[in-house]
């Protein structure tokens, strides 16, 4: 037979027998006490690492969300501040404008009062002057009357003179 040509390819029943036993013993003992705990430990470690990575990712996302929130808050605060400043500015400008208006009004009133007073005083003065002119006229008339009584001719000349004088005036 072909197999018997070379003893190398002829399996010995002894080795087959012992090898089967050895392999089964290894499979059972190692399967129970080596492969199972080792594979479980490796699996546990891997899932632990995976979990940790997932957790880290989650944390990262959370931090990013918080940062975004912070930024939004900051932006909002900045906006509010800008609005406040603007409002304050507007208020102050308004106040300044109001004060200016008020001052102008006061000034106008004072000016008007002053003008009124001046006008009144001027009128008073004019009245006074008219009064004096009146009394002067009366005085002149008195003097003229007296002169007439003394000299008729002269009286007439005087009146004429006065009349001339009044005309000149």
């Amino acid at each position: 037979m072909l197999l018997e040509i070379n003893p190398l390819v002829l399996p010995d029943i002894g080795l087959v027998f012992w090898n089967t036993i050895a392999f089964l013993v290894l499979l059972i003992v190692l399967g129970k006490f080596a492969w199972k705990p080792i594979l479980k430990a490796i699996h546990d470690r891997e899932s632990g690492i995976e979990e940790a990575l997932l957790k880290a990712d989650k944390m990262k996302a959370e931090i990013t969300a918080m940062q975004n929130e912070n930024e939004a808050l900051l932006a909002k605060a900045r906006e509010e501040r800008a609005i406040l400043i603007k409002e304050a500015k507007e208020a102050s400008e308004k106040m300044v404008a109001e004060a200016k208006d008020k001052a102008k009004a006061e000034y106008d009133r004072i000016l008007a009062d002053a003008q009124l007073a001046i006008t009144q005083q001027k009128n008073a003065a004019l009245i006074d002057v008219k009064n004096q002119v009146g009394s002067l006229v009366i005085e002149v008339a008195e003097k003229v009357l007296r002169k007439e009584l003394s000299n008729k001719a002269e009286q007439e000349g005087y009146i004429k003179q006065l009349a001339d004088g009044v005309k000149l005036n």
Binding site: P7, L30, I38
Partner: protein, 372 residues
């Protein structure tokens, strides 16, 4: 004669050098070979049978050579029609290492290294020998037990390390050496071929096969005692493992696997009839290819290294070792690679066969593929 002894000594020294740098199967080989040469020289003056010497080192043996004239005589266990019988293999040889007849329940004698029953005149009794079951602890069996012991010690202690240091800490020492190999088998062999879901069930089987082959390959490269045997280059060893793979593959095969073997879907009925026997043969050729591949690779490596060393004896000059030893070292290095590679390939193919047997076929996809 004294010149020859001197040469022998020099050769042994050279071979020892080779040993120190690389694990090759030589110190005892060359000394044994040298002894053989002396014996041969006494007989036929300088006639050296290379084939015989090499085969002697590749084959199994009933004693395990240690050094010089010291060797362990392993127990012989025989089962005959008269029951079991256990005795030391020392009784098979006389003081000159010549085979002698041992008288137990029958008359036993080693013929070409195998235990046979002989008749009163010392000739082979073929009919009675067929009834003989030789379950001896041979060199290969003993070496196998050594590898089992090593595996148990190494792997159980690394498993204990996980318990001790906990899951969260990084592996240490032996544990950190074993873990990448285990992960390699899981991530590169099991998961790609069987799938992540189903591979867990087959991991212990694949890991055991891988480590058993790897350990025996490495032990086979060590030339002196705990190694020196050619276990993974023995057809009985590879056959046993191949049969284990065959059993596991066919036990885990699902309906669609058998359907694809006996009644290939998506084919014309005549094609189906034609394919069925081919596929059926394939069921058996797969494990047979596993068996032959491992056996041939490891044996070829051993024969190569032995042939190179035998060059020294063929040329009968110590200067031949200047070429033979570097080449042997080189082949030894390649053998280291092959030792790992063959363990990987065996496991890889076993995983692939299991994957094929457990694969869930999507019928539409398959029909599409079948029309191509």
């Amino acid at each position: 004669m004294s010149l020859l002894r001197l040469k022998t000594l020099l050769v042994a020294c050279f071979s020892l050098f080779a040993l120190l740098s690389v694990t090759n199967s030589f110190a005892n080989e060359s000394t044994v070979a040298a002894e053989g040469q002396i014996a041969n020289a006494e007989k036929k003056e300088g006639d050296f049978n290379v084939t015989e010497t090499i085969l002697e080192h590749i084959k199994d043996d009933h004693s395990w050579h240690l050094w010089g004239h010291t060797s362990i005589h392993l127990p012989v266990i025989l089962k005959t029609s008269k029951g079991f019988e256990v005795f030391s293999s020392e009784k098979f040889v006389d003081e000159h290492h010549e085979p002698v007849v041992y008288k137990g329940n029958f008359d036993y004698k080693l013929i070409e290294g195998k235990t046979k029953i002989v008749d009163a005149s010392g000739n082979l009794d073929a009919a009675a020998s067929k009834q003989l079951w030789d379950l001896s602890i041979t060199k290969n069996v003993a070496s196998l037990f050594v590898s089992v012991f090593i595996l148990l010690v190494v792997l159980l202690s690394s498993a204990a390390a996980y318990k001790k240091t906990g899951v969260k800490t990084a592996p240490k020492g032996l544990q950190s050496f074993m873990e990448p190999i285990i992960l390699f088998v899981r991530d590169e062999v099991a998961i790609p071929n069987i799938g992540a879901k189903k591979s867990g069930k087959y991991m212990p089987f694949l890991l055991t096969i891988f480590f058993l082959i790897l350990t025996n390959n490495f032990l086979g490269l060590i030339p002196f005692f705990p190694g020196g045997a050619n276990v993974s280059g023995n057809i009985a060893f590879t056959m046993t493992l191949a049969v284990c793979v065959f059993i596991v593959v066919n036990l885990s095969a699902n309906k669609s696997y058998w359907e694809h073997i006996f009644w290939m879907p998506g084919m014309h009925w005549s094609m189906k009839l034609f394919l069925a026997p081919i596929e059926l043969i394939g069921v058996f050729t797969k494990p047979i290819s596993l068996m032959i591949r491992l056996f041939a690779n490891i044996t070829a490596g051993h024969i190569l290294v032995l042939s190179l060393i035998c060059l020294i004896f063929i040329f009968k000059t110590v200067f031949a070792s200047a070429i033979a030893v570097p080449f042997a070292v080189f082949i030894g290095l390649i053998e280291l690679l092959v030792a790992f590679l063959q363990a990987f390939i065996f496991t890889m193919l076993a995983a692939m066969y299991i994957g094929m047997a457990t694969e869930e076929h999507h019928h539409e996809a398959h029909e599409g593929a079948a029309h191509h």
